[in-house]
Symmetry: C2
Subunit: 290 residues, 2 copies
């Protein structure tokens, strides 16, 4: 672990066997201590209270879109700093208790994102099944351990983690390419992380929170803030402000990227862009650099 | 009805008593025919199949954010044209069957947005109640008609629409200002609508769908498309592309506004902006003008 404080602690959206667990494991491997959390908000709380060094939270899925609970947490000041990302290919499976057959299934349980990602498969193979949203894909797997008429949509990993389950169908998502991207959130900007399995020299991505100042009148439009930033943005997401003093007042999250060869000069470029946004009547904060 | 074809038909997200119903009624009044739909997608289908002249769909809530199902429908070509908006102040109430008391309540039912908007009230007054997501606020009201231990979060209107319910608490949303904004979708761009109760001279808002062309390499960033558009954007939302040929390839929805005094020249300005986006390697389509 290269001299990092031990045990290095990693919070993830539990229970064990979720895709978040798999993403955390892909990044941090077997030599750290993992902490299950019940919700995405709990992962952020584990990080900001320094109960763990880092947390792994889903940011977006290639079919279903961005994860609003993650962006909502990022509206708040000082919840942590993004220091990395993990992209995971999601291969949903349909798991049942040993011996349960396709024709026995009346209910399909999963997280709502997974149910959404398998709509076509469900409509074709289980048109009359009722769907039950549960807190996570792994919670669904656990729930079907004691059921003779339900199935869970979850990771293949769950067939290993939970004794007594078997895989009825594999790769059941509607699109063949289904990826989920996760952010690695650290306690502070200076938290040192174990090196990733495939290290990239330098920092090539960042996330900036943008909004108009509440005292700015007229409030600058998002296009004016982006013009002031003057750096190409690769992703832009909008959420309502928490301080709801003005109707439909928004906060935006802009993700930016650069090539590896440009990564040395880039952090300073970003700081200058943020200063330009502030000078133009906007608020801008660097939420991550990785 | 000023010579418009009769009956003028309006689809809304039912059942009767939802906020969508109230928004539709606020805009179109008593002299049109209303059609309940089960989902937002069904409202869009009613419009595109010409079963109704218009549809009213929620676009965003000031606390909970944008309605992804509406934006997802708008990813598809020719689902309709936005010809108006309605902003409705949402005042949630807690309704029960006549005679049910606060201490009897074990379950609180509502649409997930309404449950989200009343989180603080629920935590304070019903910390141990279980929450049940149902398809609409009005469906929740209907469900508690036969229950002695549950309550519904819904509009005040439901106490009138459903016999046998009474209001236990009023204005229970977490923020005092809670507004939902709806789009009025018409069958075609040329559908003539009855005049609104408070007519605005000219068109002062529009919605444009933006994405990079799938054959553009490198794909232009959203900031490059906005620079080409060169008109200030008041709202910008991102959803994954339906044609998932490239990983994390996005479609953006840009809402633009102008002052009433500028509204004559504005449609031509927008057309020129759209042409500039197309010339820069982007796709751009006008989804509405109102």
């Amino acid at each position: 672990m290269h001299g990092y404080p031990k045990p290095f602690r990693v919070a993830f959206l539990g229970p064990i066997g979720t895709y978040s667990h798999q993403a955390a494991y892909d990044r941090f491997g077997p030599c750290v201590e993992y902490h299950e959390c019940g919700t995405i908000t709990d992962v952020f709380n584990a990080v900001s209270s320094k109960a763990t060094h880092v947390g792994v939270v889903p940011q977006e899925n290639s079919i279903f879109g961005s994860v609003t609970e993650t962006y909502d947490a990022l509206r708040v000041r000082d919840v942590g700093f993004i220091q990395g990302e993990v992209v995971l290919e999601v291969q949903h499976c349909l798991l049942v208790r040993h011996g349960v057959k396709q024709q026995d299934i009346r209910t399909i349980k999963s997280h709502e994102q997974a149910l959404g990602q398998c709509r076509g498969f469900i409509a074709k193979n289980f048109p009359s099944a009722s769907l039950e949203k549960v807190a996570s894909t792994a919670a669904a797997a656990e729930a079907v351990l004691t059921s003779s008429d339900s199935a869970a949509i979850c990771s293949k990993l769950c067939a290993t983690v939970f004794d007594g389950l078997e895989i009825l169908f594999e790769s059941i998502q509607d699109q063949t390419s289904n990826f989920t991207r996760f952010y690695v959130i650290s306690t502070t900007r200076d938290t040192e992380l174990p090196p990733p399995p495939d290290p990239i020299p330098g920092k090539t991505r960042c996330l900036i929170r943008l909004s108009s100042r509440t005292d700015a009148f007229p409030a600058p439009a998002i296009t004016q803030l982006l013009t002031a930033l003057a750096i190409p943005v690769s992703r832009l997401d909008r959420r309502p402000q928490l301080e709801n003093t003005r109707l439909f007042h928004d906060v935006y999250f802009a993700e930016l990227g650069c090539g590896e060869s440009d990564s040395d000069a880039w952090p300073a470029d970003i700081e200058r862009g943020i200063e330009r946004v502030r000078a133009s009547g906007g608020e801008a904060d660097l939420l991550g650099l990785w």
